[in-house]
Symmetry: C2
Subunit: 243 residues, 2 copies
């Protein structure tokens, strides 16, 4: 059954009013009629709704039932990544949203070759959040992944206090623990993981990470490109905590 994300304002008593893109999708793409049903989610709840009225610009649907879903990871996972090209960033956001991440943080790092120009930055972040919204719907998630504005490395380090555990992916140190080992028998509520940009994490940055209580983690014996590493991380977290 089709799923749509709605704002709290769209809920009017026991009805939901749908306009805009979702109105178009329901009436034109899915060609639904009065009596057809779909899921509606706001950030906290999921409802089964049934269409009671269709006009030229709104769909009105009655809430038939609230359903309890456990589609969300028990741990809130934030993926931070050295800035990569916009296309690759969008691919990563798409994949990690489906895989259950909560937050995506682009970080300005020494070896970033790509930049997110200040020009039109707001538009780019809005577009990335739209990609996250679509991927959330696709994967039937109840919550949306949020994409933040780029952070300086210093501001990124300062996030440490907000998380139960902070990690960074680093292949260079021998005998680093695997993600599976690190997650074993931990009852985490929140987790922050940094993946370097294409050029990797610099020695200086690794030192700062260590000094600030971030732990290195290895992602297996093969070298993963920066755009593949976040999918690996989210897949392993999902498997360890939900598998």
């Amino acid at each position: 059954m089709q799923r749509y994300f709605i704002t709290d304002e769209a809920i009017k008593g026991k009805f939901i009013i749908i306009t805009g893109d979702d109105f178009h999708h329901i009436t034109r793409v899915m060609r639904m009629k009065i009596g057809d049903q779909f899921y509606c989610c706001n950030t906290k709840q999921t409802f089964i709704c049934q269409i009671t009225m269709i006009t030229n610009d709104i769909v009105k649907a009655e809430i038939k039932e609230e359903i309890i879903e456990q589609k969300e990871l028990k741990v809130r996972v934030s993926i931070a990544q050295g800035i990569i090209s916009r296309e690759k960033m969008e691919e990563v956001i798409d994949h990690i949203t489906e895989l259950g991440a909560s937050l995506y943080l682009p970080v300005i790092m020494n070896r970033c070759t790509a930049k997110l120009n200040e020009e039109k930055l707001d538009k780019k972040i809005i577009r990335m959040n739209k990609i996250a919204k679509e991927a959330s719907e696709q994967s039937h998630r109840a919550n949306l992944l949020k994409v933040e504005n780029p952070l300086t490395f210093a501001n990124f380090l300062a996030l440490k206090s907000q998380y139960d555990l902070c990690l960074y992916a680093y292949e260079i140190i021998e005998n680093t623990n695997s993600l599976k080992q690190i997650l074993a028998n931990k009852n985490l509520k929140s987790l922050l993981i940094l993946v370097g940009p294409e050029g990797g994490i610099s020695k200086e940055e690794a030192n700062l990470l260590n000094q600030n209580g971030f732990l290195p983690v290895n992602l297996g014996p093969r070298i993963l490109r920066t755009e593949v590493a976040p999918s690996y991380i989210m897949s392993v977290i999902s498997s360890e905590l939900e598998g």
Copy 2:
């Protein structure tokens, strides 16, 4: 250190002769000189080599040392997938190569909306194998992933006897085991997993899979698109067997 894949024919006694694309990469892109070193891998071995001669069209390098690497998964994993668009197939091949898969099998299934036209099929498969070769090099793998020509569903089912375990990703059956549960305490040498095309696996196909001894596996509580599922599978296999 840079890594190149060579054929057995390139090895002449204790020297390696490099021509073509790799010659260009060594001399023009990396601008290496006599005395510079790189890794060379054939399908079984990895060598450290040192350049002894550069002409207009060959690089001659001396084998200094053979190194033993464990970059390969202990289990040979074949990913089969209902045919999807060429672009998405190339993305999947790129990712699963980095994540350690051995074989990619496109399968003609009921709900495939994309086709691999017979026309220029050979060229497309050659291109996909080239993507796999580049991804192998990137991730420092010793073996190459191979991309096969499209299989009919009947021919795919007949592969069952060649593998220790055959699975298919299926969300529709309640209480299906997770990949982690299925892999636990198994000493597998080979594993075949089928992921449906965008439209999913049909009921009829699921019945045939069951009748032929394929087991359903669930990939977590969120619905993964077909192009994300293979990365999830390979990440979890890597984490379970190498983590």
